[in-house]
């Protein structure tokens, strides 16, 4: 029999295990189908990166099928744990809903991951997928009690942990403070006090990244980083007692916030370079313009910014309808919009305020107009992009790249706006338009919606820049 001389088989096993461990768990498992030798060696079982995710198995909404799929998942975990007791694990992730129905197995799983003490990255997610559906509509939280508690014996074994993510998993606060190697912490679906957050930051001197997802507490959010180590802060749909959101983190570089429009005070974060702001769960509009404008005034360090449609609708309602008082330093701006006429003013506001903008990404989708929206002043939306706009500084001197994602091509306003950029972008070099996948399919069926037509139209628009390349894909 010919010996297979493939690349991967020639590599010594320790190297292969390193490679397999770098793959997502699912893909490591798939290597067993490569060939007989791959199947028999069971190298995938030596992966140091294990991910038990209920959602890999449970796909159905139908209770009876769902039940069987969950059983298959639990059987898989049981089999794996029983057969790989000696595994060395560096990264372990368990996503399991209703852990109390299988508490013995859950405990066994956690013990399996931690008993060797070498785990560096631990993720335990006991949240219920149903909660997301519920919370997507309402900005208010239903406060679920944590579904499971981190067993007492593991605290000692987790002393070397670097990345810890706990979702709906209760823990002992003072024991967590002993994890001095922590670099990254993520909490979700739990009450997390600001006191704990600040104590973690001051105790764990390596901590660089903190993420809170659907957490809540009943005090004011006032984060203070005395060690000046925190680089990344993510706050995703959390709920705090007061509307004031204060952060003092002198070395913070990355800030992502989604949720309600609070009174932000981030004067203590002078180095933020990348920010992503999403207020789409907000329901009120009135009077928020000043809040947003004042918040943005503390953000002149930004280089990369992502904003939502709400931001665009609200920003011209602050102290100035036209632009920020000072120029932003932003090089890459991403706007998530449906290009409703209500967003136009905000887009132009940002073009005016970002004279050094190099790249603009327009992510289409997420249509929503907030109640009691009013145009800052009257304008005819139809002619907006021909009559109400000028050629702003960034279009004259810096904007080189324009990307449009999720393009549909039916809406004339989309085409008018793109035509404006083609006609005015003097230094524009690259314009990429990504059609939405579903749209391409429906276009194939309906010749009236031929994207080619639209493409031909855009290609005919006179160009301000001589070396502009337009790609439609």
């Amino acid at each position: 029999m010919a010996v297979s001389l493939d690349m991967l088989s020639l590599l010594p096993d320790p190297l292969l295990i390193i490679i397999i461990s770098l793959l997502p768990f699912k893909e490591a498992i798939r290597t067993s189908v490569f060939s007989k030798s791959w199947c028999n060696n069971k190298l995938f079982k030596l992966t140091t990166n294990i991910e038990f995710n209920e959602l890999f198995f449970v796909k159905s909404y139908q209770p009876s099928i769902k039940h069987l799929q969950r059983k298959a998942f639990l059987d898989f975990i049981t089999f794996w744990i029983d057969n790989n007791k000696e595994s060395i694990i560096e990264k372990f992730s368990l996503k399991l809903s209703m852990p109390n129905n299988v508490s013995e197995l859950t405990e066994k799983c956690i013990a399996f991951a931690t008993h060797k003490g070498g785990v560096k990255h631990l993720e335990l997610d006991f949240s219920d997928p149903k909660w997301v559906e519920y919370n997507n509509v309402a900005p208010y939280h239903k406060f679920h009690e944590p579904m499971f508690a981190l067993p007492k014996h593991v605290y000692d074994e987790l002393k070397g942990i670097q990345i810890l993510k706990l979702y709906s998993c209760r823990f002992v606060e003072k024991d967590l403070l002993n994890f001095h190697a922590l670099k990254e912490v993520s909490f979700g679906w739990m009450e997390v006090s600001i006191f704990l957050i600040n104590s973690l930051i001051s105790n764990c001197k390596m901590l660089e990244s903190l993420s809170l997802k659907r957490c809540w507490n009943f005090s004011e959010f006032y984060l203070r980083d005395r060690n000046q180590k925190l680089k990344k802060l993510v706050v995703d749909n959390c709920s705090f007692q007061y509307e004031l959101f204060r952060v003092v983190a002198p070395n913070l570089k990355f800030f992502k916030y989604s949720g309600m429009m609070s009174y932000f005070d981030i004067k203590g974060c002078p180095q933020v370079e990348v920010a992503d702001l999403d207020f789409s769960t907000e329901f009120g509009f009135g009077g928020k313009g000043y809040r947003l404008y004042n918040f943005m005034e503390d953000f002149y360090s930004l280089k990369v910014l992502t904003v939502c449609s709400y931001f665009l609708q609200v920003i011209p309602h602050g102290s100035d309808m036209l632009r920020m008082e000072r120029n932003f330093n932003i090089r890459h701006l991403t706007i998530k919009t449906q290009l409703n006429k209500s967003d136009y003013r905000g887009i132009v506001f940002m073009l005016r305020s970002c004279p050094m903008l190099q790249c603009l990404t327009i992510q289409l989708g997420c249509a929503r107009i907030w109640p009691n929206y009013a145009q800052p002043f009257a304008s005819a939306p139809k002619n907006f992009w021909t009559e109400n706009v000028r050629i702003y500084e960034c279009l004259k001197s810096s904007l080189e790249v324009l990307e449009v994602k999720g393009f549909q091509g039916f809406d004339k306003s989309e085409i008018r706006m793109l035509a404006y950029f083609i006609q005015s972008g003097k230094v524009l070099k690259k314009m990429t338009i990504n059609m939405e996948k579903d749209i391409i399919l429906s276009c194939n069926r309906n010749l009236d919606l031929n994207p080619r037509k639209f493409a031909e139209f855009l290609l005919k628009v006179p160009r301000a820049s001589t070396d502009l390349e337009i790609t439609i894909c």
């Binding site: 010919a2 297979s4 001389l5 493939d6 690349m7 991967l8 088989s9 020639l10 590599l11 010594p12 320790p14 190297l15 390193i18 490679i19 770098l22 793959l23 997502p24 699912k26 893909e27 498992i29 798939r30 067993s32 189908v33 490569f34 060939s35 007989k36 791959w38 199947c39 890999f56 198995f57 796909k59 298959a72 898989f76």
Partner: protein, 159 residues
Amino acid sequence: MAEKASESSNSISLNTVDGKIFKVSPTIANQMQTIQSLIKAYDSSRVISLPHVNAFHLSKIIEYLEGKSATTVSAVKEFEAQFMKDLSLKQLKGLLIAVGYLKVNELLELMPKTVAKLIENKSVEFLRKFFGIVNDFTPSEEAKIREEIAWAFDGVDED
């Protein structure tokens, strides 16, 4: 330290399997753990022969060890990215084996990442072709294994 002291003294000669002699500085040689232990075991004036490493691979390793001492972090990253990009798949394989044998720690960290990126999110058929793996399963044997781990194939585009 001993390595520091020998810095100014003679370079170390390495003889590859295809008969080329490389002269490298002790700083470079000591970053290959296998060679480091050979130097300790024998006297450093001897030519060290490397039966599993050819001239191309050794020259690449030396190129890497010299290049990655760039001044800034971003310059090193850029150099590493270019270094990996310049390698063909065949070269990557051979080099990885050589690196594994010589125990060049930094490359042992960098190269598996490159390989893992190459195989991430690809279908089994693609990967077999890509790496030249001969599928010696009968269709029914393969179907059976796939059935057993069907969940791991969910969401993969088969081609």
